[in-house]
């Protein structure tokens, strides 16, 4: 069970942030935009990560990773660079969505009170 720890942690991140999709205009619902925002940054960070692993700046505890490897790194590490930015975008999606809704409500109540 231990070797799934890193994968499970990433899964929990996706699960916890999933409802945020519905508080705004959506992230998953704009897959092309998501891909365009993610891909260039992913490329840079994967190169950084591969260099850091090769130079022994950091490494992964074999006990807690699945053992599935993509070139230069564990699968989990590749997924990390996809999952974490998506969590960040979903947070932004929710915050902007909620603030926009609050502004609409304020405008409506101001109109009603005749201001």
């Amino acid at each position: 069970m231990d070797k799934w720890q890193y994968l499970l942690l990433l899964g929990v991140c996706l699960l916890v942030t999933l409802p945020l999709e519905f508080l705004g205009e959506g992230i998953y619902r704009q897959p092309i935009r998501l891909l365009r925002a993610l891909a260039p940054v992913l490329a840079v960070f994967l190169v950084w990560d591969a260099i850091a692993i090769a130079a022994d700046v950091w490494h992964y505890n074999p006990r807690y990773v699945s053992g599935i490897n993509v070139p230069f790194m564990p699968l989990e590490e590749l997924l990390f660079f996809i999952v974490i930015p998506i969590c960040g975008l979903l947070t932004w999606n929710a915050v902007t969505g909620i603030l926009a809704r609050m502004a609409r409500m304020r405008r409506r109540s101001e109109q009603r009170s005749g201001r």
């Binding site: 942690l9 993610l38 260039p40 940054v41 130079a55 603030l99």
Partner: protein, 115 residues
């Protein structure tokens, strides 16, 4: 603790993201309260997730202390991780917001432009 392997690239990544925004993308994201609210929320969750990844009692990611400042806070999180995480999430968010502004140049996004 030469700091070259992790501390230096982490600082450079933050500077690079700032330059990307201020010199090229100019989304105005850093002036939006929604961005800073989102970052505080992301930071809170980063402490939980990263704290789990880096806890010295059972670490998933193991750092070569030669390449870090050696400062770990809170818990056992190398402080460099916060620069790394900020650069990762902010870079993707900048590209995301930039595309929204391209799609709707005059109207802007009611949620994103205002906030």
């Amino acid at each position: 603790m030469s700091g070259l392997g992790y501390t230096l690239p982490a600082v450079i990544s933050v500077v690079a993201v700032c330059v990307l925004e201020l010199a090229a993308l100019r989304t105005g994201l850093f002036r939006k309260p929604a961005y800073w609210i989102s970052m505080v929320i992301v930071l809170g969750f980063q402490v939980l997730v990263d704290g789990w990844l880096t806890k010295l009692s059972a670490p998933i990611v193991m750092y070569n202390e030669k390449h870090t400042s050696g400062i770990r806070f809170p818990w056992d999180i190398p402080v460099e991780d916060f620069l790394f995480g900020w650069a990762l999430v902010t870079a993707v968010l900048l590209l995301w917001v930039k595309q929204g502004q391209r799609q709707r140049p005059e109207a802007g996004d009611p949620g994103e432009r205002r906030w």
